[in-house]
Amino acid sequence: MSEPVVEFRHISMQFPGVLANDDISLTVNKGEVFALVGENGAGKSTLMNLLYGIYTPTGGEIYIRGRRVERYNPKYAIDQGVGMVHQHFMLVPSFTAAQNIVMRKEPKKLGLFYDNAEAIRQTRALVEEYGLEVDPTEKVADLSVGLQQRVEILKALYRGADILILDEPTAVLTPQETDELFAVLRRIVAEKQMTVILITHKLGEVMAISDRVGVMRKGRLVNVKNTSEVDQRQIASMMVGRPVLYEALEKTGTPGELRIEVAHLRCLDERGLPAVRDLSLSVRSGEVLGIAAVEGNGQSELIEAIAGMQHIESGSVKICGKDVTNRSPAEIRAAGLAHVPEDRLATGLSAEASVGENLLTGRQREKRFRKAFDFLDRSSVARYAGELYERFDIRGAGVDAAAGDMSGGNMQKVVIAREFNFDTPVLIIAQPTRGVDVGAIEFIHSRIIEKRNAGCAILLCSADLDEVFRLSDRIVTIYEGRVTGEFVTDQVTREEVGYYMTGAREVAQ
């Protein structure tokens, strides 16, 4: 009989305007991997943050090993054996792995002085005990993302955690790193009887590693199942609350002339360090070129450089044959480019402006909206916006509501509706479905393929490798600002692409 470790009893969490957790009761058992899935905003992270003591629930109670949680703060939670690895790591980059791991519970000489040798020794012991290979003396800044994650896990273990919460741990990992992480998790669960709670929205991972799965939707826990009794499609349907159909995307036509030509591009990042190094690529009409890269390898700078949002040090960019190197976004758009940026709130729209105004942007000087004396005809704008709103299946409080009040998925649809409707010969799309719910992903994917089939040249960049594989005709891998490989999608596996993404393999150019 399984032994309960964590019990949520009637937990509710009210944020201003949002009931993030709504009367949740759930028991997690010792020695199991429990996957918590749900769309963005379903309340998974909130529930785990309550367990880790970051928030105090507005209703209900949590029991850890049968004892009621008295105070909601992380220190208390850590003392109770709860460890959490956040999506964004909480590490000091200039410290070594060992220094990060022992932080706040440092070994002391004479009870007074920090003992680095002892810290390294203890870290080594931990590494050996759990099989999480990390060099304790290496600076965290010099470690790969996958290794930084191990440091985070070791940090939790050092503090004595036996309930480990992982918040979307694989979002930043390559396929190989994901496999290694799962191997480690399996081992610590089997050998150390630890409990792992995994927040994720990748259903493949749920099937691969979890014993049980809890599905959340709109703040409620709608279902808890043994993973062996359900399949991916059933989980997806529970997440959205209706059947999810994965339609095959039909790609037609053949690539035509060159539309995007990037040659020997070099750019610097915000800190003035090289981000894009001598990068060349090209996209033809009627094809999707997907960029596969681990976050922070220069792909964001590349995309912004093409769109005129980032200074180019050397090299050139041509759109539809026209040289647009270091031109303004206005000129590049005039040359035939539309752009769905990776960060919709910072770049893709104005949160304060209404949905209608956001849909209009870029067309405000067109004759149909602009009458004599520069008068902006609000009724034609409303008509136009209403039409796009319908066509792109945007769901919210209408075109007059502020764009910032909508859900992430609907904001993204607003950006996509506006940019796709420019009917440009070239489209750059970065992270098209980041933070977008399962139902809307399908919709966005089929719009992208529709554009491709209509002859648009599309450059796609996504942190989701499955998405890159699903949409792209060709894939380039980028590592540290350089193209490390180029593949035809049907002729390569995810694992192989993974090697090139980490620079482990490279095709000489």
């Binding site: 009210q14 949002m309 520069d374 007059d400």
Partner: protein, 366 residues
């Protein structure tokens, strides 16, 4: 639409409450300082409205407040805060006045047009400088404009005591008096109100129209709300920001010309007593909305002129005006914070109640 209506109503409600509270606190201050609050407020009302010439003065001051406030609105709409209107106003006034002095004997229309142009150019250039510094080298415009205010004030005081000083022995620090033929015509005897108010009305309408009704006004709003998005969408942010700042300065310069040619007919230090800053406060209270700025200008002008009348008739210091104005600003600034706090508490209570109700109704037994 209803959400926007709701926001407007909420703003209006808070404005009215703030004003009432401000008058209430003002009454306490009056009572503590041995004045009869009701009598003082009555004197204030009479000071603003009891005679046509008072009403004329209210309108003249409202004109100054409204144009200064609108100049501020224009900058803040594109994300640049013009705190330098006072300097732009002073320089516009003194240069416009000196144009009239130099061109004495020329046709009226020529002098007035040239004076207005000179004021516009001087005010505009004086705002253009911090505008360019902000856009090109990211120098904070609040600091530069405040410092340029001091430069302008010192330059004016040098000019009126030096090269441009009046030859009349009755004027110690001022320019020559303008020839009466160049004045804007008076509208109400005994008041400072002049035909300049018609020009001001046209300008105010124009600014409102551009900001609220045109596609350019829409572009300005986008730049102010999210400059990165505006640039991404193909707008020329830098040019628009510099242009708006320059126009903002030009309007302030023109207000200076109106003050000289409409009200004072001479440049002296009293041409503006931080009038721009009062206009700026009106703009802040109006949340930089042009129409609200204009309407609130009328209210605050009546308050100020009334306070001056009250000082004369009831012997109460007109500083009570400043007290009331700043308290209103204080409450308006606190509005969003207070409102969110109330809303949060309301929702947390609702959540607790809902959770409790469910538990009592549920089958689960503890």
């Amino acid at each position: 639409m209803s959400e926007r209506m709701q926001q407007r109503l909420r703003y209006l409600a808070f404005l009215v409450i703030s004003i009432l509270l401000a008058f209430g606190i003002g009454a306490i201050v009056l009572a503590v300082t041995d004045h009869e609050p009701l009598a003082a407020y009555k004197a204030m009302f009479q000071g603003a409205f009891s005679a046509p010439r008072h009403i004329g003065d209210v309108l003249e001051y409202a004109m100054v407040l409204a144009l200064c406030g609108l100049a501020c609105d224009l900058g803040s709409r594109v994300g640049i805060f013009n705190v330098g209107g006072e300097g732009q106003l002073l320089l516009g006034a003194i240069v416009a006045c000196q144009v009239g002095v130099w061109l004495k004997g020329s046709p009226t229309w020529l002098v007035m047009v040239l004076a207005a142009l000179a004021a516009i150019v001087v005010g505009g250039v004086y705002a253009f400088i911090p505008g360019v510094l902000k856009v090109k080298v990211k120098v904070n415009e609040v600091i530069t404009t405040i410092m340029l205010n001091t430069v302008a004030a010192l330059l004016c005081s040098y000019l009126v005591k030096g090269p441009w000083q009046s030859s009349s022995k009755y004027v110690t620090a001022g320019t020559e008096k303008l020839n009466a033929q160049y004045w804007f015509g008076g509208l109400i005897k005994g008041s400072k109100l002049s035909t300049a108010i018609f020009a001001a009305a046209v300008i105010a309408f124009f600014i409102w129209y551009v900001m609220q009704r045109t596609s350019r006004g829409y572009e300005m709003k986008l730049i102010g709300q999210n400059p990165r998005f505006a640039r991404f969408s193909g707008l020329r942010n830098d040019t628009v920001v510099i242009l708006c700042m320059t126009i903002s300065g030009a309007i302030c310069g023109l207000v200076g010309m109106f003050r000289v040619y409409g009200a004072e007919h001479i440049f002296k230090s009293g041409i503006s007593n931080d009038y721009y800053f009062e206009g700026l406060m009106v703009a802040m209270i109006a949340r930089y909305q042009p129409l609200t700025t204009i309407l609130l200008s009328l209210f605050f002008a009546a308050l100020k002129i009334g306070a001056e009348g009250m000082q004369a008739s009831a012997g109460v210091s007109n500083h009570i005006y400043l007290i009331i104005q700043t308290i209103i600003i204080f409450f308006m600034a606190a509005e969003s914070g207070i409102f969110t706090a109330i809303e949060n508490r309301r929702m947390q209570k609702a959540a607790r109640r809902a959770a409790l109700a469910r538990r009592e109704g549920g089958t689960d037994n503890e």
